[in-house]
Symmetry: C2
Subunit: 257 residues, 2 copies
């Protein structure tokens, strides 16, 4: 099977223009089929602050009001997505930017109220158009996904980029040998969050549960790892959590069954 590298990159890396451009350059030289899923939360937070729009996060997840959704669509699907696409084009990569609404490629449903928390206009992925994904990839396009989907009834929804990366990887396992890489501003999964050298080189699901119980792995890393393990269990060949500057996974945390 042909190889496909799927990279997820977070908002913190995208926020700094120099770091971002360096990252995009490195992404552009990955050999073979590739796809990029970007976040943008840190850019949104900064922009919202600058225009005095309040942002709110509960349990590490954003509350997406109508106002925040508007900004998210502007910043994720507009600014960040198109800047990445045009930069990749300048490096000779035939990039094409997508939200889930475009060509109905990812459909989601609005998240129900959970544990008394209403996350607002947030989408949980329901359906991915695998035929179109295959066609685009095989025709040499590098898809760049913004973390926005739609419900098929005209409502755009803010959608976790880690989930998009995981779900898109899972749906393509029959067609490609997939390496899924989550790029962070940290060196990988750390035993001690304050020590960048405490990288866990190989992480099994059993060990993950242990670290979780201990509290060594916590907060935002938990849903990320749940997504990542779910992809591994579904047949994704390789799942790595590493630093954005280590896009070829020389270091970082390799997940193991």
């Amino acid at each position: 099977m042909k190889k496909l590298t799927i990279i997820k990159v977070g908002g913190k890396i995208i926020k700094d223009p120099d770091v971002r451009n360096h990252f995009i350059k490195n992404f552009s030289i990955i050999v073979g089929y590739k796809m990029l899923i970007h976040g943008g939360g840190a850019v949104l937070d900064e922009f919202a602050k600058g225009i005095n729009v309040e942002t709110k996060v509960v349990n590490g997840r954003r509350i997406t009001t109508e106002k925040i959704l508007k900004l998210a669509v502007m910043i994720y699907a507009g600014l960040i997505n198109k800047e990445i696409v045009s930069k990749l084009q300048s490096f000779g990569i035939n990039a094409i930017g997508f939200t889930g609404a475009d060509a109905d490629i990812i459909r989601s449903s609005m998240r129900l109220v959970r544990n008394n928390v209403n996350y607002g206009l947030v989408g949980d992925i329901q359906k991915i158009n695998v035929h179109l994904l295959n066609k685009l990839i095989n025709n040499g396009y590098t898809i760049v996904f913004a973390p926005i989907t739609h419900d098929g009834e005209g409502q755009l929804l803010n959608t976790n980029a880690d989930s998009i990366a995981g779900e898109v990887s899972k749906i393509l396992v029959c067609n490609y040998d997939i390496r899924l890489v989550y790029c962070l501003d940290k060196n990988g999964v750390l035993v001690d969050e304050t020590d960048e050298n405490s990288i866990i080189k190989e992480l099994s699901y059993v060990d993950f549960q242990k670290y979780k119980k201990d509290g060594a792995i916590s907060r935002g890393m938990l849903p990320k790892l749940e997504n990542a393990f779910s992809a591994l269990f579904s047949g994704v060949k390789e799942v790595v959590i590493t630093c954005a500057s280590d896009i070829n996974c020389q270091n970082g945390t390799y997940l193991k069954l």
Copy 2:
């Protein structure tokens, strides 16, 4: 040849949610192949005003500073484009949103200083990927263009939506019988701008020159009509300037050779 309807719609129509939704509904029921090119200047102006960003227009054309380009990409390629795409999807139209950067579909070059006016980060169209356009149209996709292109060197550029509509129409004349419709907040080309009933029903290029000399047709309508006549001269079957609520061209101004 197969029929293709290409509609350009301006920012003033898009700004009001009810008017916009009505327009999108009407667009969705056009029979056969169709494409939509939208502006967004009025939405940008309102947003910029709300966050105290100055906008400047010289000779009816916007000066695009770096700050304005950022907002244009956010609002045109993000907010407006994705709201239209998701709404069309809800009406069963397989819409896909594009800027010129996506799949390198429209490449432009930055406009040179003209008559001592530096318009800033504005693109003049250089190259359109006709093969991809054909493929998408023939596969049943309804392309929704935001008025943003790129220079192939990583720079996004603000690009006149009338020009995109005209140039895209011209490049597709060999493949389709094209009706190109410019949808306005006016009833068509008027002899007297203050009288909505003074529509010119048929306008030849000779008459256009006469009206232009008289001053009856002036300002923003001039570049629009130059674009429109250029499309007609290049083989576009039908070019109509009409009101947004008259998408099927029962009224409005029909251009004649």
